[in-house]
Subunit: 216 residues, 2 copies
DNA sequence: GTCTATACTTGGATAGAC
DNA sequence: GTCTATCCAAGTATAGAC
């Protein structure tokens, strides 16, 4: 349907593609999900934000649900790029907590995670949407598991904590914290938690490497 | 408006009140939130489930949002009663984890927590709804903090973990786990987590009481 | 307290002109 | 590719009969 074969990407990153309205719709959908929630993210509301006609939603995406999934894709991928950068710069568990808090606050300020939670909650309303949303969460599990594995491999918890299991807890906790903070606008409780995590990381770092010298 | 002064509660718990349709609407709203989500929980959909007329929603509750809040109240209070019973029966941290897993699975089977997450996510769509939902979550924080305080007070973590801060983490984690498990229908990852928590509780129990003999 | 009927609004989706 | 116009379904809410 849309985009009949002509890929417009020239270099590695192109901000001004030819599909101007298509991208405008995606970003309008993101904003609508953030500010009005799944129930408020209608084709008309999104088109109003994108300052274009409502019918273009269906021309470009076929349905509102597809546009919403495209919005989730966009947020999920761009956020993961940022997370990767933040995590790659963290050499220790302590720095990992700092990085986590940094992206947590960025997310909360910009409402990125609201897009995800709205889609998760909204998935119940639209048949067939749930597996699509679930598939887009899966990369976060592997990403988190990798980050945890790196952070824990030389510490005392390596033998106790399975990265895959802990990753699920981290993802769930992160979602829950964003959900609550986004609801009542109070992030102080979440920040107190990051403080505790910092103390825990510092404490655990006192126990040195278990098997070999650290190379970081 | 509704219920002009006549309270029908005779004993402490009465299941067959006079407001039959009112209660039918509340329970239909609960089911609608569980199965169709916030976006699908319309006056018409709820009335269809309650097998009554759509106008009765407005007669009894004034608006759909009010009915949805009544549904949240009902679930929140009845669940808290069950949680309290489960937690009161738990004397040790290990038993507390067992109790938590038990209610977690009950909630997932019945979809109780979906009602809450749908209302949280849906709060963005309806002006003024967010603070109402937030107010109904607050009791869960105090409940969880109390349970944690009791479970930790004689253990080695008492000096390290602040119950209020940890309670927020527990509530957020619980919400996130239910959100994810409800989305993809896979609870195995959450159950693996409870297994780990059980091992941790057993491990911590090896360090005895810190200040005085345990009276349980 | 419950029903029918209705007014009004919004939303999804399509057809056809440009 | 974008717009106007339109159809139809579904939603909120109210009025009035019973």
């Amino acid at each position: 349907m849309a985009k009949p074969g002509i890929k417009t990407k020239v270099g590695t990153t192109v901000s001004t593609g030819v599909d101007v309205t298509r991208e405008a719709l995606v970003h309008a959908a993101i904003d609508a999900l953030k500010e009005e929630g799944f129930a408020g993210a209608s084709a008309r509301a999104i088109a109003r934000r994108a300052e274009c006609n409502q019918g273009l939603v269906f021309y470009h995406f076929g349905s509102v649900a597809n546009l919403l999934l495209a919005a989730l894709d966009e947020v999920s991928e761009s956020r993961r790029a940022q997370y990767r950068a933040a995590v790659d710069g963290a050499g220790s568990a302590l720095e990992l907590v700092d990085a986590a808090q940094s992206v947590f606050e960025d997310d909360l300020d910009a409402g990125h995670i609201a897009v995800l939670t709205e889609m998760i909650a909204g998935a119940s309303a639209t048949p067939g949407l749930a597996p699509e949303v679930a598939a887009r969460i899966e990369p976060w599990h592997t990403f988190t598991a990798t980050a945890l594995r790196r952070a824990l491999e030389h510490g005392p918890l390596a033998a106790v904590v399975e990265p895959e299991v802990a990753a699920h807890a981290v993802v769930a906790l992160y979602l829950g914290l964003e959900l609550l903070a986004h609801l009542d606008g109070d992030r102080s409780r979440a920040l107190a938690l990051f403080d505790r995590a910092r103390q825990l990381a510092t404490f655990l770092q006192m126990f040195g490497t278990t098997s070999e010298e650290e190379t970081q």
